[in-house]
Amino acid sequence: MASLEAVRSKSASRTRWLLISPAVLVVIIGAIAPLLVIVTYSFLTPGPTGGVNYTLSFDAWTRVLFDRDVFDDTLTLSGTNLEILLRSLLLSLATTVLCLLVGFPTAYFIATRNPLNREVWLLLVTVPFWTNLLIRTFAIQDLIRNEGIINTLLIKAGFISEPIQMLFTNFAICLGLVYVYLPLMILPVYASLERQDRSLLEAASDLYARPFNVLREIIVPLAKPGIIAGSILVFIPAIGTYVTPILLGGGRNLMIGNYIEFQFGQGRDWPFGSALSLALMAIVMVALLVYIRHGDSHGHEHG
């Protein structure tokens, strides 16, 4: 009898893996294995015409942080690489913070509508999100160019006489990123707010908390998992962004994503590109660790 139970569980296990493995296999081939390849590449030397030479070298990794001087080959802490990393980090953090500042009240607003209207508001958030990224970025471009609607209106209204240069600035990149990824912040924050028990707010009011204190003491701390999830969801694509700096940054405000691409294109330095990719991955992993630490504990943390 015991064996009957065992046989059943063994055949169940076989069926299970039969069902799971195709999906896993596709992901392995289409995403995981290539990543392992570039891990290998990051320890090789660049080939003369692109590609790699199969000689072990830590040069690529050294160059992530250090610069070999163009003229005398001395190593210095790489101002330019750090600058790009720092700019990417700052821009994506600024994007995340802006998304949060704008997204939180919006999510809260939706979560406090009556349930019937809520779905409609939510739909309104998702529609732009489901619209092609490029289309949205071009839309921003049209809006903020020197002869775009905003400048035209401002000039017509007499606020300014010369168009304000918005396109091709860090501001434009940030605006574009916020615009493109804002729904990724609103949705998880909304999810955590929507679950929130209204009676907790009443309990706080009952216990002498004024509206602002209710926000600070109850609403925000309880929405923390959503806030963290949203921040991660915005931060990851923002720091790795490739398209936005091209379209809105005018090619002179490179971010790490473009710099990586550059190494595989014009730069012809695949090992260095690989090392940079992995450095980016590392930053993302750190962010994810923060998420797993704080997001999974159901926000029962109190600051």
Binding site: V37, E119, P128
Partner: protein, 268 residues
């Protein structure tokens, strides 16, 4: 006199929210309006006309890019939804097993890696493979798209499965339904909205992809997004807006589709 103490009210949040919605829609609205611009600038109004829709419809490159985009999205969404459905069934209809976390991490992996990293990694691998095999067909793009669509298809299906009561399938078994019949008559109909949502999400994700496609594609494999990205090397005309208008329409239709299906089939 107010009716009830407004316990959820936070001052200024409504204003921010409304501003946000304006912010979300203003660029799209402007882009849409300029799709009907008679002039050649996507920013300077020159009267109403449909010429850019016409011009897009006559642009051989736009047409073949659109067809490729749709084809690619359809194939990879179908594949990834099928794979994701199988995996989701196996992973949420049995108790936690050894390897569950591993399988789950693998499936959600593409979500956690910045696209550019996957893109260059695929660039390297596919370039090498093309060299070895000489094959440079659509296969690479299909594989790449399917891979990054898997988690998108997986999420709604799994979510649906989790809210779906497992005792319904037991009840079917109890009522003389063989495992296949239980799947056919109970699991499948109830899971369908999830599968549809997964498919649409995967479809849109594939349709939306620029970065990975840009790096994996070879000659003649421009999708609409990569064609539009190529716009940075061409004069921008309202033709882009016209294409955007059409795609916006498709997206809205798909979103509405999910919305309606979800409304209709809320699990009680």
């Amino acid at each position: 006199m107010a009716k009830a103490f407004p316990v959820t009210h936070q001052r200024g949040f409504g204003t921010v929210a409304i501003t946000t919605f304006i912010f979300l829609y203003a660029p799209l609205a402007v882009a849409l309006v300029f799709a009907f611009n008679a002039g050649t600038s996507p920013a300077k109004w020159g009267g109403f006309s449909l010429r850019w829709f016409q011009s897009a419809a006559n642009n051989q490159q736009v047409i073949s890019a659109s067809i490729l985009s749709l084809k690619l999205a359809a194939i990879s969404a179908t594949l990834s939804t099928t794979l994701a459905t199988l995996a989701a069934l196996a992973m949420s209809r049995t108790p936690r097993f050894r390897g569950w976390t591993l399988a789950y991490s693998a499936i959600s992996f593409p979500l956690m890696v910045p696209e550019i990293v996957t893109a260059v990694a695929l660039l390297v691998v596919t370039a090498t493979f093309r060299g070895w095999t000489g094959y440079s067909g659509l296969g690479y793009l299909v594989l790449a798209h399917t891979a990054f669509c898997v988690p998108f298809a997986y999420l709604p299906i799994r979510a649906r499965l989790q809210t779906m009561d497992i005792s319904l399938e037991r009840a079917a078994g109890d009522l003389y339904a063989s495992p296949w019949n239980a799947f056919r008559f109970v699991t499948m109909p109830l899971l369908f909205p999830g599968i549809l949502a997964g498919f649409i999400l995967a479809f849109v994700t594939s349709l939306d992809d620029v970065v990975i496609t840009e790096f994996v594609k070879t000659a003649g494999q421009d999708t609409l997004p990569t064609y539009m990205l190529g716009q940075v090397r061409r004069t921008i005309t309202p033709e882009v807006n016209a294409i955007a208008a059409v795609f916006l329409l498709i997206s809205v239709a798909l979103v509405m589709c999910i919305y309606v299906v979800n409304q209709r089939t809320k699990i009680n």
